[in-house]
């Protein structure tokens, strides 16, 4: 009886909450994404650098691997946070690290100011709920 009742309540709960279900994979509310290096405002000679990606209270999994509390890094270069209900685009401004990488060599940045920001995507490259996004930083590329 208790089991039946529990099931009933569970079913009712599902019905009530279903319309508001986000499609996105849940992320721990205390997850924190940040760029370890470079720091905001760093001047980079020549435009080639290693970028180190930092993640607290969550783990890394390669693309296509569905595991709770994980995702993979995406680098947003000179662009804003993309729509949260679509897969993160894949182009020169949105760089995917589907191999589970936590550092990347950036090359070929033109001299001038560039913005960098990290965003975690789930196994299908969708942002999480809540989205796990770093602060946006600005670096200055100086010519050699």
């Amino acid at each position: 009886m208790i089991q039946l009742l529990t099931r009933g309540i569970f079913a009712a709960l599902l019905l009530v909450s279903a319309p508001t279900f986000a499609q996105n994979t849940p992320a721990p509310p205390n997850a924190e994404l940040y760029i370890i290096w470079p720091p905001d405002g760093e001047v980079i000679q020549g435009g080639r650098l290693w970028v180190r990606m930092g993640l607290k209270n969550m783990g890394i999994a390669p693309a296509n691997i569905q595991k709770e509390g994980t995702g993979h890094h995406h680098f947003l270069i000179d662009t804003d946070v993309p729509p949260l209900d679509e897969p993160i685009p894949s182009d020169n401004n949105h760089i995917h690290f589907g191999g589970g990488q936590t550092e990347a060599r950036l090359t070929g940045l033109e001299p001038g100011e560039h913005t960098l920001q990290l965003m975690l995507g789930d196994h299908d490259h969708f942002p999480h709920d809540p989205p796990v996004v770093s602060e946006k930083i600005t670096i200055i590329v100086a010519p050699y």
């Binding site: 290693w50 180190r52 930092g54 783990g59 390669p62 691997i65 595991k67 191999g99 990488q101 936590t102």
Partner: protein, 143 residues
Amino acid sequence: MKLTLSTMLAVLMLVVMPAQAGDTPAPEEAYLYIGWPNDGEVIRTGGGKPFRVWFGLRHMGVAPAGIDVPNTGHHHLLVNTPVPPLDEPIPADDNHIHFGLGQTQTQLTLPRGQHTLQLIMGDHAHIPHDPPVVSRKITVTVQ
């Protein structure tokens, strides 16, 4: 007959698998290091509070334990212990800390005194790669 087969298999395994490393290949250029703390760092936590350790990895990716994807593995932090046997799963105890969820940093609490820290990657089954991906061993002092 069954016995003979398994004996043959055992002999074959002994011959084929030198006791040096696991079966999962790692990129030759894979580079594992402790991003912070630095070697020789004096950490003034008083011994009771946690400090952050972040794991650096280049030319290779991270995957949770149990996930078999080429060129990935998960981090293990060796605390006050030498590198374990390379052909067995890395032990799981206070000296061998597993990050099987794919974590790339941790909060570590150590008592006052000198401690050594070292990272080693393990494959989906917690066995070191071939070649093994191991960081330099560093020494920190907690005051």
